[in-house]
Symmetry: C2
Subunit: 371 residues, 2 copies
């Protein structure tokens, strides 16, 4: 086994999920993640945790969904499994990122809605989502397999404590601010000028560990839960939403809701997201990508949204970690991230002060106070 | 997909497990059983059952067991998953039948004992165990892959109702009898002459369906729960026990307990089984193999014990289905089957009457009343 697979497992179990002896850990293994599962099992055995393995197969799910009449139930036992788990480790990495492309969007939505309780129960554990680099993901990224593996381990195996220190400064800026404005002006694409409130919300320093309320490995972003968005956003980073390509999406917000949208590709996918429920038309997240080891778009949200010099906004569900204890934010069965490139012609303002220009924060070398 | 994979799934979900709309079904998918899992998911979707997938990987289990200190716990959530399930479908078929060969037997035993409750909970569901034909199983059987697939589907895809009718006659003989004697005398191997009581026990007509209290696909055996065994048995069909080869085992029983044993190969594996607990030295099962489509030894207990013209005895746990309501039989953390060939030089007597000679039952053509 490649040493990096073992290091990945160590980072996941130790740094990210903080697994302790006797913890009940559910490990979800995707079709192509077997090797990482072996390494994770070794670490869980060393720690003395209890391990339950589930199988996360897009192909099996597709067969089930296509055959089903759409009146989905949920299994009480599966709910109990997650309700009683201390941690849930999702090892992604399939064999075909388009495996569920021919499942009707109505069926997807019904299935997703039926599984809301399961999802909530998982999110109440110390959950962490990661991926094992597979050939399918390499292909999705437009990269050779070996080069893709380098890319993944560069992003995953890093000094998380050091990055956490840097991201803490961005968290401070967001926590002490009330209003965010994002502006991009580039001749070759529609502009962005959007304002949103973040008053009363707490940003998460997402340093790839549950002790930071951060549940992705890799991570490397600072995110909060905005509301009352007004203005236009142009998302120039391509995406795959529900197995469908989405490109150059433009959203117009009024009083916090999407009132107008278009897209160069995948408009139906966006429409289907927006129609899921009332919360799907409102924002659940504003995130600033700060993992500069992720230096290219690879068509995988786990990486793309953490890319250095980007921002993303998510339609749908807000994370509780951004809200005062006991309060809940925007609710929805979906959480769909869309990303915009900030590396040129851009600025972020908090309460009128520019805190980032062209991707460079004001506490970093090379920051230009004026455009 | 090969049509036979779909037929296999239909037989499993329909005939064997009798899945109904709304049933909560846990499907355990072995490393090599993905294709069968896709077909099973399709059937479960058609029926409208709820599906939870677990991953049954010998390689992952090996890594966990070898790293663990041996003080195993169990996850409350995993127990709840099985306690609340209506059915459990185990899709076997790995990539290496020797994958756990280097796990210490003490560790195996400790793990098995720690998981007793989980096993009991699974056995309280409408559980069915089957295998997808993999190259690893073909290799274990000493067969080419295509030939092995023919063998598996011949054994699985048959007219189960017709076989059930024939096996019912053997069940009647066992249910109305009190004492069984099995004798084999062949010049080239040690003899068998063992007597055991079956008074008060009920035989199971194991026709590969939960409605017959039968939990294997394929099946094709009639089994009961004997006690008070006395005498010697020679098991000439080879076996793999806990990943180790076992051949030509001789057990001597006195007052229902094994008091002496030897084996040409795998004596330590047998010793480790016998030392598990008190019940491991007593019998849990007597089975008569009646699936004549299984016409060769393939080193897989699911098939071997159902081979036509064989009998098997299991050390360890008895099945509740053989016992009067509310009573429990021999208890143990193990259930290990050992098989003897009856095709020549053999007879089975019930209460002094010969009911089978050389594999042929007395209600079949070619039965010879006298040897």
């Amino acid at each position: 086994m490649d040493d990096r697979v073992r290091e990945h497992a160590e980072t996941l179990v130790g740094w990210s999920a903080r697994i302790e002896p006797g913890d009940d850990v559910v490990v979800d293994v995707a079709e192509g993640a077997h090797e990482l599962a072996v390494a994770v099992a070794e670490r869980l055995g060393e720690v003395g945790a209890n391990m339950t393995l589930t199988y996360g197969s897009d192909e099996v799910t597709r067969a089930y969904l296509r055959a089903h009449d759409g009146e989905f139930g949920t299994a009480a036992g599966e709910l109990a499994l997650f309700e009683r788990a201390d941690a849930y480790l999702r090892l992604g990495g399939g064999r075909n990122t388009a495996a569920t492309a021919d499942v009707e969007s109505g069926t997807r939505q019904a299935y997703r809605s039926a599984r809301t309780d399961l999802r909530e129960a998982r999110m109440n554990t110390d959950w962490v989502s990661t991926v094992h680099p597979t050939r399918s993901l390499a292909q999705g990224a437009g990269m050779a397999y070996e080069a893709y593996r380098e890319f993944v381990y560069d992003a995953v195996l890093r000094d998380w404590e050091a990055l956490a220190g840097k991201m803490a400064r961005v968290k401070e800026l967001l926590d002490s601010g009330e209003a965010v404005r994002i502006v991009t002006e580039r001749e070759d694409r529609p502009s962005t000028d959007v304002r949103m409130s973040i008053a009363g919300r707490t940003a998460v320093n997402s340093a790839a560990s549950v002790v930071y309320d951060s549940h992705n490995l890799p991570s490397g972003e600072v995110f909060t839960a905005p509301y009352d968005a007004t203005g236009q956003v142009f998302f120039d980073v391509p995406m795959t939403v529900d197995g469908r390509r989405v490109r150059n999406v433009r959203l117009v917000f009024e009083d916090g809701e999407v009132v107008e949208f278009d897209a160069e590709a995948g408009a139906e996918a966006i429409e289907s997201v927006l129609d899921t429920d009332a919360g799907a038309r409102r924002l659940g997240e504003l995130g600033l990508g700060m993992n500069r080891r992720i230096d290219r778009f690879t068509d995988n949200i786990l990486f793309d949204e953490k890319m250095g010099d980007t921002a993303h906004l998510a339609l749908g569900r807000a994370y509780d970690a951004n809200l005062p204890e006991g309060e809940s934010g925007n609710e929805s069965a979906v959480h769909v991230d869309l990303i915009t490139d900030l590396s040129a012609g851009s600025r972020i303002e908090i309460d009128g002060e520019t805190i980032q220009r062209n991707g460079t924060f004001r506490f970093e070398d090379g920051f230009e106070p004026r455009g």
